[in-house]
């Protein structure tokens, strides 16, 4: 095991105030440590010096909860492909490196403290339609709904999204299209999601825009940053579903209604 001497440029900010970069030397970091363990070591040293440790989000530290964030050297979750910050290890860095550590930057993700941001906009998008309306107890026998393996696998590809927000952080427009596309796409692909497809698509896209995320300019930095490698073809599908939903919404879905219907 080797020890690394690193120089960190860490973003420090209190909510509602302007932030700045703090230069922190991080000598003798074991290369077997994870990136977050490196931050733990740095924080222990700050505490020992009587300074305030760097606040960052983290929880499961096994790449599934989506809590950890950080833009490392300009890349959300750092340079490794398909890897969350918590799974990134220090052996990917060299002694003498300068590492820039910043929050996920987006107007829709305001900074709470240092590297901690408020990603609750994602929850509100989900509340605007990211569900199947089915009451507990009202479900039919599971195998009454047949879902071909290919369709189920595709839905699972989209469902792998961990909601971390790296897609937003990587996009120069801070667009949430990949997230919304994956979430809407999972349900829009499955037969269970069909009855509410129009409502869901329109509702989630409207909420996405309302939260202040930017639009997609088809540059696919989101896909490259996604720790779960969600494909941008889900965005293709969201675009298609949105166009179809608008037409159905405007022209009555091809269904006739009695007097008094809208």
């Amino acid at each position: 095991m080797a020890l690394l001497n690193l120089h960190l440029k860490v973003w420090r900010q209190n909510a509602g105030q302007p932030g700045h970069f703090q230069d922190i030397d991080a000598p003798e970091i074991p290369d077997h440590a994870s990136f977050l363990e490196m931050m733990d070591i740095v924080n222990e040293r700050l505490i020992a010096k009587g300074e305030e440790p760097v606040a960052f989000d983290h929880d499961c530290r096994e790449g599934i909860c989506g809590m950890c964030s950080m833009t490392i050297n300009g890349m959300p979750h750092g340079p490794e492909k398909a890897t969350t910050t918590c799974q990134l290890h220090m052996r990917k860095f060299r002694t003498g490196d300068t590492i820039w550590i910043e929050p996920f930057r987006a107007r829709a993700f305001p900074v709470i403290k240092d590297l901690v941001t408020d990603r609750s906009a994602f929850d509100r998008i989900q509340q605007a339609g990211g569900f199947v309306t089915v009451r507990t107890g009202s479900a039919a026998e599971a195998n009454n709904i047949l879902v071909g393996k290919e369709v189920a696998d595709a839905a699972m590809d989209a469902a792998a999204c961990i909601g971390c927000g790296a897609c937003v952080a990587a996009c120069k427009n801070a667009s949430a299209m990949l997230y919304v596309a994956a979430k809407a796409g999972q349900l829009n692909t499955l037969p269970q999601g069909q009855p509410e497809k129009t409502r869901r698509t329109l509702g989630m896209v409207r909420q996405m825009d309302h939260e202040g995320f930017g639009g997609c300019t088809n540059q696919y930095e989101c896909e490259a940053a996604c720790p779960k490698e969600i494909s941008v073809r889900w965005i293709t599908k969201l675009n298609r579903d949105f166009a179809a939903a608008t037409l159905k919404d405007a022209f009555g879905n091809g269904q006739e209604r009695g007097e008094g219907g809208d």
């Binding site: 077997h32 290890h89 990211g130 189920a152």
Partner: protein, 638 residues
């Protein structure tokens, strides 16, 4: 105090139906007058909050994470059991019930387990309807696999992330109710205290982790769905934020804590690589289907690279000791065998706490591609963390704390002995006895939340006037002041040691003395040292920052303070239970061949501990366990 488990009368298979019929109903108009507080938003919490809101109750739900979707249920990999018998391989509700009681080493409550097995089938229906993308056959029907040594294929799964998919299902149901206005969701909001008014749980004190505001919330009943206490060991597969605070605070307010010594160790985790280590990563148990576990026969070989150790110098100890189950021996047995090998000085890797899990033979037999297809993602994860390729050399694994079977004592209604306090999921003690089978945790969390509590909560609520207690009650004022003063005490300390350093020291001590194997002397030593460490914590901890803003160190400090107290009860329970069963192995109680020796005559009970105000002297209450359906027998996997 006598414990009334309120198990319905009648034959086992009819108890739950009978109980549902006998349970009280509340008029829909009146339901909306009741406020239900749900703490935790994992599988149990999210499913309960959503289902109760659908019924018309007013629900307030709290989680410390930034989104309910991040609760640690999300990390479960393997799957969820259900007695659907889609494979036509002879599964049934009774068989799942039987397997769970036996797997729990006869320390679970039969009636609860039977109900769990009954509801398992409904869970799958509900999740599929929500759009959970379970694995499918080409024809479109649900796929199953066999898991955790079960002889039938009853496990439903969604790649290696069943937990995430089920949680997202429950989260979507919760979102639907939040959008409808039925659930008021509080994220980044941690419960600090339970408020008890006239002997009933009537509210909680919380701290907003963004603003630091300490607030009181009143309700007609409180549901704790706050998970397990595995982080008392510091290193575990739990998420960093998992903690015992909610259940421990409830315990100190009168709720009994049952069987804390039942802790599950998972055999296939990535070993510790250094003292900076913050968490242990679990590798799916499925690896043991093709990997062979071994250590060198001679301690002198431990430093050599694996490929330089000749075949005849390797000890495939699981195959040697358990010829019929071999590398697939149950979790507790293979974990202990790994510890024995390492204690014998034959462990491999840094610190000598690791054993090999070798795929060389499987790769030779099936080809590298087949192995990559089966385990590619796990091998990638292993390489990311260790920097080693498991295709080139054997993996190193070691057991780690994974799940805790103990928890707050609850009756058949999932209500604690403290009226009004309900406890769901991993936080309660009820369904897994001394050992949990693979793919059963998800099942229990969802059964409790979707199907049990919506029926049973009314049995308590009908006895209460809705909104009878508000936060104006003096008990709330007192609790608020108590929480605020603890925060001040932590912040005002002029100590020098960080919170993490205390947590690490506590964890090492508890793991050493009350981990995979326990004995009287070690436990007594732990019971001497824990109060000392706790004393030092309060004298010498340093918590930087302030209380009125986001302050992760302060959050950790409060949690560690509770672990410091809880650890003592854990060791007391382990010390009192003079037998070995499931996840509790006392080295004094084993057969000559090293197998666990249960003592049904003296310990066939759930130990429900009562707080007395003196941490050193809790009172033991016993719920005797009777086995009507599954007859007590020695659990053997030879």
């Amino acid at each position: 105090m006598p414990l009334d488990s309120k198990i319905p009368s009648g034959p086992m298979a009819l108890k739950w139906s009978k109980h549902k019929q006998d349970s009280k109903l509340i008029n829909p108009k009146n339901k909306r007058k009741y406020t239900v507080i749900v703490v935790g938003s994992g599988l149990a919490g999210a499913s309960a909050a959503a289902s109760l809101s659908e019924l018309g109750y007013k629900v307030k739900c709290f989680c410390f994470q930034d989104s309910p979707r991040r609760a640690h249920s999300i990390a479960a990999q393997g799957g969820i059991n259900a007695a659907k018998n889609y494979q036509n391989d002879g599964d049934s509700v009774h068989r799942l019930f039987y397997d769970t009681v036996k797997g729990g080493d006869f320390r679970a409550r039969e009636a609860n387990v039977h109900r769990l097995a009954e509801e398992s089938v409904n869970i799958i229906d509900q999740c599929v309807a929500q759009g959970v993308p379970f694995a499918r056959e080409y024809g479109g029907a649900l796929a199953n696999r066999s898991f955790g040594g079960a002889q039938v294929s009853r496990t439903f799964y969604a790649r290696g992330q069943t937990g995430q998919q089920l949680l997202l299902g429950a989260y979507s149901a919760l979102n639907k109710e939040i959008a409808r206005g039925g659930v008021e969701m509080h994220t980044r909001c941690e419960m600090l205290e339970l408020v008890v008014v006239d002997g009933h749980a009537k509210g909680i004190i919380t701290r907003d982790l963004v603003t630091g505001k300490v607030e009181a919330h009143a309700g007609d009943t409180v549901l704790l769905c706050t998970g397990g206490y595995g982080n008392v060991f510091y290193l575990s597969t739990n998420a960093m934020g998992c903690n015992v605070t909610a259940t421990w605070r409830a315990h100190k307010k009168g709720a009994f804590f049952a069987n804390p010594c039942y802790t599950q160790i998972h055999p296939t985790c990535i070993p510790v690589s250094g003292e900076y280590q913050s968490k242990l990563t679990l590798m799916s148990e499925s690896l043991r289907n093709d990997g062979r576990v071994w250590v060198p026969k001679n301690a002198a070989d431990c430093g050599k690279p694996a490929h330089q150790i000749a075949e005849q110098d390797r000890d495939y100890y699981l195959e040697r000791k358990y010829p019929s189950f071999g590398n697939l021996a149950p979790r507790d047995i293979s974990s202990r065998a790994a510890k024995e090998a390492c204690d014998d000085g034959r462990g491999v890797g840094p610190g000598g706490r690791g054993v090999y899990l070798d795929f060389a033979e499987a790769i030779q037999l099936f080809g590298r591609n087949t192995i990559a297809e089966r385990y590619g993602n796990l091998f990638d994860m292993y390489e990311r963390i260790t920097g080693e390729s498991a295709y080139e050399r054997p993996m190193r694994i070691y057991p780690a704390v994974h799940y805790t079977m103990g928890g707050l004592w609850v009756d058949y209604n999932l209500m604690s002995n403290l009226p009004g306090l309900h406890v769901l999921g991993e936080a309660n003690f009820s369904d897994h006895g001394a050992n949990r089978l693979g793919a059963s945790a998800l099942m229990q969390g969802l059964a409790d939340g979707y199907f049990v509590i919506p029926t049973t909560v009314a049995n308590y609520l009908v006895t209460q006037t809705p909104g009878g207690v508000t936060t104006d009650h003096p008990e709330f004022k007192k609790a608020l002041e108590g929480s605020a003063s603890q925060i001040r005490r932590l912040l005002d300390g002029k100590g020098r040691r960080s919170v993490d350093s205390f947590h690490r020291e506590l964890g090492l001590l508890v793991w050493d003395k009350c981990g995979m194997e326990r004995d009287k002397a070690g436990l007594e030593e732990a019971l001497r040292r824990i109060p000392e460490l706790r004393e030092e914590f309060w004298q010498n901890v340093v918590v930087p920052g302030s209380g009125d803003a986001a302050n992760p160190e302060l959050e950790k400090a409060g949690r560690v303070a509770d672990f410091m107290e809880f650890a003592e009860l854990l060791c007391q329970d382990a010390l009192h239970r003079e037998e070995s069963c499931g996840g509790h192995f006392r080295s004094e109680h084993q057969y000559p061949d090293g197998e666990a020796k249960r003592d049904d005559e003296n310990f066939c009970y759930a130990a429900a501990w009562e707080y007395t105000g003196d941490l050193a002297k809790p009172i033991l209450n016993k719920e005797q366990l009777t086995f009507e359906e599954v007859h007590l027998q020695v659990r053997s996997y030879k």
